[in-house]
Each structure stands twice: as structure tokens, then as C-alpha cells.
């Protein structure tokens, strides 16, 4: 087992930006995720949350700034290489390998990071059990409910043995208590396996009690970063989230 000092301990983005045809989707954002913590990334629709996650995971290259693993510049590394470095993501829509079984979905992730067949299967079994998916393991993923499809996507990400896990709205479509429960269990994993989690969520109330810190985006820029209680009281955040109602 690698000790913490050998393996990277922070994933960060420094002054990173990307624009599409002149639209700055992310504009000079800096953030840092440490292992074992859950950083909530929130903001209104179109504020650049998914784009930030795309930059960190390697789906997009930043047009300015850099993505770092400790001091190492990852900006030019492909998404697949970053997975091998322990930076693993999910997609907002909860994408799965529809006509493969739930078990195979998770097994693939183990194989993808280089595990042998037996080890990948053991990993799949353990992960499915931890997320309560054993009873659907033999079903094709596309026959599950939307909620379980999302959980399968999370199981797959966990089976890749991430050091940093980037989750794009894992609780979308679930009610508040389900969402809180899901994020609590993700937080449990993060602590237990010392995984740094970046969690995108648009619902402020869900992340309040579950994240260690919050990072708020609006129009591609950082509004504030800090502890949930402090963020909640920030006047700018109040305006973004509750402004129109008041």
C-alpha cells in the first residue's frame, strides 16, 4: 500500500480558463481538492461547473492556467492517463454501458486501470456490495431506474480506485433526503479510502451539511470558497441563489 506521502495529496486547478467561441465558460478559476475531503462545487445553470470538471478530468484542455497533481502539471495528459493517475470522473447524465450487466460495468473499470481479471471481479463485487447493488449485479444496466443507473456510474468510478473523484451531480433527480444520504455515503468512502471528492451539485441545501468546503461559481468565475456556513451567509451567494425571490 502506498503511503500518503508517496502518492499525490492534492489535485488543483490554477487560474484555469477555457472559452468556446469567445464565451468564457470558465474564467480564471483556482481550486484545490485534498485527499479525504469533499469539496462541493455549486452554482446556477451554465455557471461552468461541468466545464471545470472537464478541465480537471482532461476532457478539455485549458486555454489558460493549469491543472496540477501536487506540483505536477497534468494539463497535457489525456483523460485516460489521468484515470491511471487516480483522477476519475462521472458524467452529469449518469452514463453507463447500457447493454452490459451492472457487474460488467464495474468490472471494466477495474480492467481499465490494469487489474487482472480476478482482481477486477473481486473489486466489482466489493464495490457493488458497498453501494447496495448486489441484487441487480446480473441485470443489464439500461434496465435499471435512473437512480440506480447513477449509482452504477459511481460504483464504476470507485472501482477504478480513484485518489480523486469528480462527481457531476450524482444525486440529480433524487429528492433532498435521498441526495443527502447518497452524498453521506460518498463522504464515507472518501474518508475511508482517503479520496478527494469534488462534488458538483446545484442544490445548495443538499451540500450544506455534507461537504467540508464549498466553491461557488457564477458565469465561469469564482464567487467565494469556504466552509458551508460562511458561504451561506455571503451576500453575493444570497443574491445568486435567493436574489430573485426577495
Amino acid at each position: 500500500m502506498a503511503t500518503l506521502s508517496e502518492s499525490p495529496s492534492v489535485l488543483s486547478m490554477r487560474d484555469a480558463g477555457v472559452h468556446f467561441d469567445g464565451v468564457k465558460a470558465v474564467d480564471g478559476v483556482s481550486l484545490t481538492v485534498s485527499r479525504g475531503e469533499v469539496l462541493g462545487l455549486i452554482g446556477p445553470n451554465g455557471s461552468g461547473k461541468t466545464t471545470t470538471l472537464n478541465l480537471l478530468s482532461g476532457m478539455l484542455r485549458p486555454t489558460s492556467g493549469a491543472v496540477l497533481l501536487d506540483d505536477r502539471d497534468l494539463s497535457r495528459l489525456s483523460m485516460r492517463r489521468r484515470v491511471r493517475e487516480g483522477v476519475v470522473r462521472t458524467y452529469q447524465s449518469g452514463r453507463v454501458f447500457g447493454r452490459l450487466t451492472v457487474f460488467e460495468n464495474v468490472e471494466v473499470a477495474g480492467l481499465g486501470v490494469g487489474l487482472r481479471r480476478g482482481a477486477a471481479r473481486d473489486m466489482a463485487r466489493t464495490t457493488l456490495a458497498q453501494l447496495g447493488l448486489e441484487d441487480v449485479a446480473h441485470l443489464t444496466a439500461d434496465s435499471l431506474t435512473a437512480g440506480r443507473i447513477r449509482t452504477t456510474a459511481i460504483a464504476r468510478a470507485l472501482a477504478a480506485q480513484p485518489r480523486f473523484l469528480l462527481l457531476d451531480e450524482p444525486a440529480a433527480g433524487q429528492n433532498e433526503s435521498e441526495a443527502v444520504q447518497l452524498i453521506e455515503s460518498i463522504r464515507g468512502f472518501a474518508r475511508e479510502h482517503s479520496i478527494g471528492v469534488l462534488l458538483v451539485e446545484h442544490d445548495m441545501s443538499v451540500v450544506m451539511g455534507t461537504c467540508d468546503r464549498l466553491h461557488v461559481l457564477d458565469s465561469g468565475r469564482t464567487v467565494i470558497e469556504g466552509e458551508p456556513q460562511r458561504v451561506r451567509k455571503d451576500p453575493q451567494v444570497i443574491e445568486i441563489y435567493f436574489g430573485k425571490r426577495e
Binding site: 462521472t90 460488467e104 480492467l111 447496495g132 441485470l139 435499471l144 437512480g147 477504478a160 435521498e178 444520504q181
Partner: protein, 348 residues
């Protein structure tokens, strides 16, 4: 009885049984039926190869007949008796002059035919690994065009549009069955392998597979080379059955026939490909007889009617079952879907 067979071995067993059935029908029928049966078994070898690539990657190839051609020409060179070769190929280029004297057994010819095709597979794999969708389809078609043109024009080696002749007939019904079973076993082994599973994942969702660390290009290339090998072997079997052929056997008409088999059965499934090969081989024969006038009182119908009707069948199936009869399912493998759409567990 099937219960005693482990789930992983069921599909190849059922498919082998289908191949065996084809062989038995060929054995009890007359010479024409036997001929149809052998060609059906050779087709099974071919589609097992094609589907090793297309079923697992989800990318259709229109170029695999090129591999078949290489296998056929290789087998011809390896098995035509040396004295005959001396008269057929008087102008062999110097580097290939050794081909005049080489002589090998049937089985070696089939394997070497596969290997030569695999070399072309290896050479084209980098392009295939990078392309998807329409570009990939066009690239595979381009490979067919290039190989066809080379084979037609390189007359000193291939005799151009003249026939390769004098190949000893070695592909018996039972040999064809043996190779069909072997091809099914190889195709299934790949399907179930680490590489095959990861490639199927990329077929289902490319970006999710990349996000799971899957090296999609590498697995596509692996499947491509293996499928080239199997299709090359099919070409060698074909050559050693028909004993003479020319380059026109390996172009659009053959490509169309195989596409119909695979698409009709289900191009995402090995079972679909094998079933398609068996069914379409029979259908082609029936349609051919129909075109020759056997069912219309002896008056032959215009050439092309058989292909037209086959195209009609293909269109019908495509409209009714866009993914073919099998979809992405495999015979003997229960791809369980939740019978009722899964209920969310009720939280206490």
C-alpha cells in the same frame, strides 16, 4: 442438459451445434446441397471473424472481404502444384520467385492465409484505432478498394482478372465444419476476454469507457487484427473449396452478401452473425435458383433479381429490427433485464 454447461461455454456450443446442423444437412443432401453447406460453413468462419471486430467495437466494416482475398491468394500459392505454378506464373517478380516452389499442406495454407491477412490488419490497425462512425466505415471501404485494385492490376502475381486455377480441393464438408467450430471458439474467447469486454464497453459508451481508463484504440486494433486473421483463413478455405477463382469474387457483391448476413442476424452479436450466415446462405441459394428460373417454369429472370430480393429482405429486417434479429444478445446467455422496470428501494 444445458444446465450442466457453464454459462460461459453455452454460446459457442449452441453456435457450433448450428454449424454441425448445417454440415449434417449438407452430408445427407445431394451435391448441390453439400456445396451450399460448405460455403455456408466458410461464411460462418468469415462472419465469426467480421463480428470479432464489428460486434465488440460496434463499428461496421465494409472492408473485410479484402482479408478474405489475401487469404485466398495465399492459399492458392501454397497449394497449387509446383509444375502448374511454373506455367501459370512465368513473370513472378524476383522477391516472390520462391512462391513457385513452396508447397504446403491444407491446414498450413489456411493458417498462413490467415496470417498474411493479419499482416494487412496490422498495417491498417493504426487508422482503424483512431476512427469511428462514418469515417471508419469509409476507411474500411477504402481498404477494400485498394486491395481489389492491387489484386486486379498486379497481373504477374495474381493473374488479374484471369482465374487462379488448379487449387487442390481440400475443404471438405467436415474440414469446413472443423474450422467453423474453431472460428466460433476463437471469436467467443475474444468476446469474453479482458480486451473484448473493454471494447464492448467502449461500444456502449465511448466517453464512459475512456473515463474508466479503457485504451479504446488498443482494443479496437487487437480485435481488428484477430478478425483479419479469421477472415483470411475463411478466404483460404474458400480457395481450397472452389479450386479456381478470380479477383471479382472478393469485391462488392461478396461484401454485400456478408453484410446482409451480419446485419440480418445482428451485427452486435456473434450469434447473430452465425445465424445470419446459415440462414442467408440458404436464402441466397434459393434466390439464385429462383433467378435461374427453377421456380418459374424454366424462364430465367434478369440477372440481379436475386440480389434485389436479398436487399428487400435486408430492408425489411432493418426496419422491423434495426439491430438485426439478435440485437446485442447472445444465444444461451441470459442477458437479464429487469422484468418490470426496477422499483427504487423504499427507504425506511
Amino acid at each position: 442438459m444445458m444446465v450442466l454447461v457453464p454459462e460461459r461455454a453455452r454460446t459457442p456450443l449452441i453456435l457450433s451445434a448450428i454449424a454441425a446442423l448445417v454440415a449434417v444437412l449438407g452430408a445427407v443432401g445431394g451435391p448441390t446441397v453439400q456445396r451450399v453447406a460448405v460455403l455456408a460453413l466458410v461464411s460462418i468462419v468469415f462472419v465469426a471473424g467480421l463480428s470479432t471486430f464489428s460486434a465488440n467495437s460496434g463499428i461496421m466494416s465494409f472492408g473485410h472481404v479484402a482479408f478474405m482475398a489475401l487469404g485466398a491468394y495465399t492459399a492458392a500459392f501454397l497449394t497449387i502444384p509446383a509444375p502448374l505454378k511454373a506455367t501459370l506464373f512465368t513473370q513472378l517478380p524476383e522477391p516472390l520467385a520462391f512462391l513457385r516452389d513452396v508447397q504446403s499442406s491444407f491446414v498450413v495454407a489456411v493458417v498462413v492465409g490467415g496470417l498474411v491477412a493479419a499482416v494487412l490488419g496490422l498495417a491498417t490497425a493504426p487508422a482503424i484505432a483512431r476512427l469511428t462512425g462514418l469515417q471508419s466505415g469509409i476507411a474500411t471501404l477504402a481498404i477494400l478498394m485498394v486491395v481489389y485494385n492491387v489484386l486486379s492490376s498486379w497481373t504477374s502475381v495474381t493473374r488479374g482478372s484471369s482465374s487462379m486455377i488448379g487449387i487442390p480441393q481440400a475443404t471438405t464438408l467436415w474440414a469446413a465444419l472443423g474450422f467453423a467450430v474453431a472460428a466460433i471458439a476463437v471469436a467467443w474467447a475474444y468476446h469474453s476476454s479482458r480486451s473484448g469486454l473493454q471494447l464492448r464497453a467502449s461500444r456502449e459508451d465511448y466517453w464512459s469507457s475512456v473515463a474508466s481508463g479503457v485504451a479504446v484504440g488498443r482494443h479496437r486494433a487487437t480485435a481488428w487484427v484477430l478478425s483479419a486473421f479469421l477472415c483470411g483463413a475463411a478466404g483460404a478455405l474458400y480457395a481450397c473449396f472452389v479450386t479456381s477463382f478470380n479477383v471479382s469474387a472478393f469485391f462488392l457483391s461478396a461484401t454485400f452478401g456478408f453484410i446482409v448476413m451480419v446485419v440480418l442476424g445482428g451485427y452486435l452479436s456473434l450469434s447473430g452473425a452465425v445465424l445470419g450466415a446459415a440462414v442467408v446462405s440458404v436464402l441466397q441459394e434459393v434466390l439464385r435458383r429462383f433467378q435461374d428460373g427453377q421456380f418459374t417454369g424454366g424462364s430465367a429472370l434478369p440477372a440481379g433479381v436475386a440480389d434485389l430480393l436479398l436487399a428487400g429482405v435486408l430492408l425489411f429486417v432493418l426496419i422491423k429490427f434495426p439491430l438485426g434479429l439478435m440485437g446485442a444478445r447472445e444465444l444461451g446467455l441470459r442477458r437479464r433485464r429487469a422484468s418490470v422496470k426496477q422499483k427504487e428501494p423504499v427507504e425506511a
